[in-house]
């Protein structure tokens, strides 16, 4: 898809084993993240986007099993040993979470956090260099050097998130995965953090995978966007194009139901996302799709490439694989509130 991607995910599957059955949290996802680009991964709760982010970094819980390829620097991260993977996490691949307070050690000063990270991954740095790099990275995040020796609880939520980002970036990783980094922050602070993230490529040359449910921040900060539904990527392309002319019915419905300052009408998507243990056969969006055709119930959609976009929807093809009469429209299923989200 991209000439020289930083990370190349191919047919990734992440399944969880539970007593009720196997949860297919990520079901054959392929994705490329280019050097220094900002890719937005957007979807509602339960679509598998967080799992995908962690799957790439190998940070899955014990009950999860993964399959497929995650190519980075010529190696498959999924087949690496835990020890090898640890070398990559940090200096090559960074991760920032939603709740920064829970990830910073309340008993350690900020200075100590940085020293620990740098000593572990770049042991050749001298104390002076460590301090210099730390202060510089923190400074870019707007954290003044006078606060270097303070404890995490002395900072506000937004500042803690900046510290988290600085901590991830001080190692100059090639890829940063941000999982809902601004969800718990106020609107103005969120915009401040987003401008930091959007500038990563200029200031640090780092690629960013921004995982979120907020379409607004994806539109503003991302070059490309991938829309996820029920464990699959249903549409992917340049942010500009996808938002201007969404191809997949889910993307269209999602955009319509987003309430922004321009909203004049309320729209919602009837029904609820499917149970990932037994998702609908063939197309997973079919029960809620206003444009469903009979082929959508019989065959799982095949990915189609249109210009620089990928869509997983029979409406867009490949038309030669749709059987006779498969293009007949189906009425949308009656969905009662009992099945609604």
């Amino acid at each position: 898809m991209i000439a020289t991607p930083v990370v190349s995910v191919r047919d990734l599957r992440v399944y969880y084993g539970t007593v009720r059955g196997t949860v297919r949290a990520v079901d054959r996802v392929s994705l490329d993240i280019g050097t220094s680009e900002v890719l937005g991964l957007v979807g509602e709760s339960g679509c598998g986007k967080s799992t995908l982010g962690r799957g790439i970094l190998g940070l899955l819980p014990e009950s999860a099993a993964s399959d497929g390829e995650v190519q980075y620097g010529g190696k498959n991260l999924l087949t690496m040993s835990a020890k090898e993977l640890r070398h990559y996490r940090g200096p090559e691949l960074g991760l920032i979470f939603q709740e920064p307070m829970t990830r910073l050690n309340p008993l350690m000063r900020i200075e100590d956090h940085f020293r620990e990270t740098l000593e572990q991954h770049e042991p050749r740095l001298s104390g002076r260099e460590i301090r210099k790099r730390s202060l510089e990275t923190l400074g870019r995040m707007g954290i003044p050097p006078t606060r270097f020796r303070q404890y995490p609880h002395e900072f506000s939520g937004g500042m803690r998130q900046r510290i988290m980002i600085a901590l991830a970036l001080v190692l100059r990783p090639k890829l940063l995965i941000a999982d809902e980094p601004t969800t718990s922050l106020d609107v103005i602070v969120e915009a401040q953090i987003l401008s930091i993230l959007a500038d990563l490529r200029e200031n640090f040359g780092t690629a960013l995978l921004l995982i979120t449910h907020n379409l607004g921040i994806v539109a503003e900060a991302c070059d490309r966007v991938a829309v996820m539904y029920a464990g699959e990527i249903v549409e992917e392309g340049a942010a500009r194009d996808v938002f201007a002319e969404p191809a997949h019915p889910y993307t269209q419905a999602l955009l319509r139901s987003t309430i922004s300052l321009e909203t004049t009408d309320l729209h919602s998507i009837p029904g609820a996302p499917p149970d990932l243990i037994a998702p609908p056969p063939a197309c997973r969006f079919r029960p809620r799709c206003p444009e469903a055709m009979s082929v959508c119930e019989e065959k799982h959609p095949v990915e189609e490439r249109i210009d620089h976009r990928r869509v997983l929807c029979w409406l867009h093809g490949p038309h030669d694989q749709i059987p006779e009469g498969g293009a007949e429209k189906l009425g949308r299923e009656e969905i009662s509130v009992a099945d609604e989200a």
Binding site: E44, S45, R131, K132, L135, E136, L138, G139, R140, G142, I143, P144, P145, T146, S156, G157, G158, M159, D186, V187, I188, V189, E190, A191, Q192, L194, S195, A198, H213, L215, G216, I217, V218, A219, E220, A221, A239, R240, V242, F243, A253, L254, L255, S257, T258, I259, S260, L261, E262, T263, L266, H267, S268, I269, A272, S336, V337, A338, E340, A341
Partner: protein, 448 residues
């Protein structure tokens, strides 16, 4: 719905708030507690006044620390007011006993933010939704069951039989919120306070719940107080909006005015910062710096002045602003330069105590050195509003004396259809600022 005249007749007014204050005292460090001293006071709600008219939807919009949640709860009597008055349908709430309030609760209800935590996990939906009827002994037995089923259907949980015996853990987020709404309306209240009712729900579900709330407003003739940080849903839902910052209403007026012509710089910033799913937009850059300050020790004068791009002489400049300025400058410097400059000032911590004047001691024993540092900072960014607040600077032996103009408390003024609390619209404040500017320019020229 009826249009809002700006001057309301008294009959019209459902809730009348005047000079409301809700203060919390905070526990200090262990040492302080031992000695019995309290660390300070958080003015969660600081002198708020407004009217809520029958049938309207008033939005209380603010970020964290704005006091919107505390304000909502104080109005309902769930939190004791420290001062001021809240009149509900003519009756004064702030002085009522818990028992008197309980009877009033039939008329005013609240829908909370977190649908997953608002329902008792040990009670079925039928029990939870029917509980208000039992508490207030309105109906019982068969009639109660009927009312519960009817209310469930009203909120869209139909057929009701399917939901009656379920526990909250069996329901989805949207369904839970519907049940919470059902519980809130079953007594036919007059006022419904909705505290972030949709912020924890997915996008595709939010619209459903908002649509439900709009329908209920029409059907049940409800008055809403809609508390949120999300200006986008507020625009859709509210007739009037009040913008809160650190416990005060900085701007209040009809929805249309707020969105089309925001007056207060904070309102303007909020509107600019909202992410829009429009790819032609990119991340806004001209945002106020910093974050909402600590409510326990708010900035002097206007609370927003440290972040305001249009602040000027009267807005309340002080020591902490100088500290922010220096820290911001040092964040961009090379380590050596920072170290050198930092070493110049011996008592930097004196800038943490809020005052309008300060004496900085120079490590070099030459006060002028500190002033030179300030000059360098000023040269780097002469348009920085901070400098307009500086009244005078002078070196006295080993110290640099800096003083700022006295803060002027912002007043709430009517500007067209809205009421704003901002010096930019205050003729007197503007005149005073001009006078001060002349004074400072004059003394500068005289070389004082």
């Amino acid at each position: 719905m009826r249009t809002r005249p700006d001057v309301g007749v008294d009959d019209d007014v459902l809730v009348s708030v005047r000079g409301l204050r809700t203060h919390y005292s905070i526990r200090g460090s262990f040492g302080q507690r031992l000695v019995g001293r309290e660390a300070g006071n958080v003015k969660a709600v600081d002198d708020v006044s407004f009217d809520l008219r029958k049938g309207e939807v008033l939005g209380l919009v603010g970020e964290s620390g704005s006091g919107k949640t505390t304000l909502g709860r104080t109005i309902l009597g769930l939190v004791r007011a420290t001062d001021g008055s809240v009149r509900f349908d003519g009756e004064e709430i702030t002085t009522m006993s818990e028992r008197e309030l309980r009877t009033l609760r039939r008329q005013m209800q609240i829908v909370f933010q977190d649908p997953h935590a608002s329902l008792n996990p040990a009670m079925t939906i039928a029990d939870s939704v029917g509980h208000p009827l039992r508490i207030h002994k309105v109906v019982s037995g068969r009639e109660l069951e009927r009312r519960v089923a009817e209310t469930l259907e009203t909120v869209g949980l139909a057929p009701a039989e399917q939901f009656l015996g379920k526990y909250p853990s069996d329901l989805s987020g949207g369904q839970k919120q519907r049940a919470v709404i059902a519980r809130a309306i079953i007594l036919n209240p007059v006022l419904l306070v909705a505290d972030e009712p949709v912020s924890m729900l997915d996008m595709s579900v939010r619209a459903k719940i908002l649509a439900l709330m709009l329908d209920l407003r029409r059907e049940l003739d409800l008055t809403y107080l809609y508390i949120t940080h999300d200006l986008a849903t507020a625009k859709f839902f509210c007739d009037r909006i009040a913008i809160l910052y650190l416990g005060r209403i900085v701007e209040i007026g009809p929805s249309a005015s707020i969105y089309e012509d925001p007056k207060h710089p904070y309102t303007q910033a909020l509107l600019r910062a909202i992410p829009e799913p429009d790819p032609r937009r990119s991340v806004p850059r001209d945002l106020p710096r910093g974050e909402v300050p600590d409510a326990a020790s708010p900035p002097l004068g206007c609370s927003f002045h440290p972040r305001c791009p249009r602040a000027f002489e009267v807005c309340g400049w002080e020591t902490r602003d100088l500290r922010d300025l220096l820290e911001s400058r040092w964040s961009h410097q090379e380590e050596e330069e920072y170290a050198r400059e930092r070493a110049l000032i011996e008592n930097l911590d004196s800038l943490d105590i809020p005052r309008v004047d300060v004496r900085l001691r120079a490590a070099s024993r030459r006060g002028a050195d500190v002033l030179e540092l300030l000059e360098a900072a000023r040269e780097e960014d002469p348009d920085e509003p901070f400098w307009r607040g500086v009244r005078s600077t002078r070196a006295v032996d080993d110290q640099a004396e800096i003083s700022w103009h006295e803060p002027v408390e912002p007043r709430a003024l009517d500007v067209g259809p809205v009421r704003v609390e901002c010096h930019l619209y205050d003729e007197d404040a503007l005149a005073e600022a001009e006078r001060r500017r002349v004074e400072t320019a004059g003394s500068e020229k005289a070389g004082v």
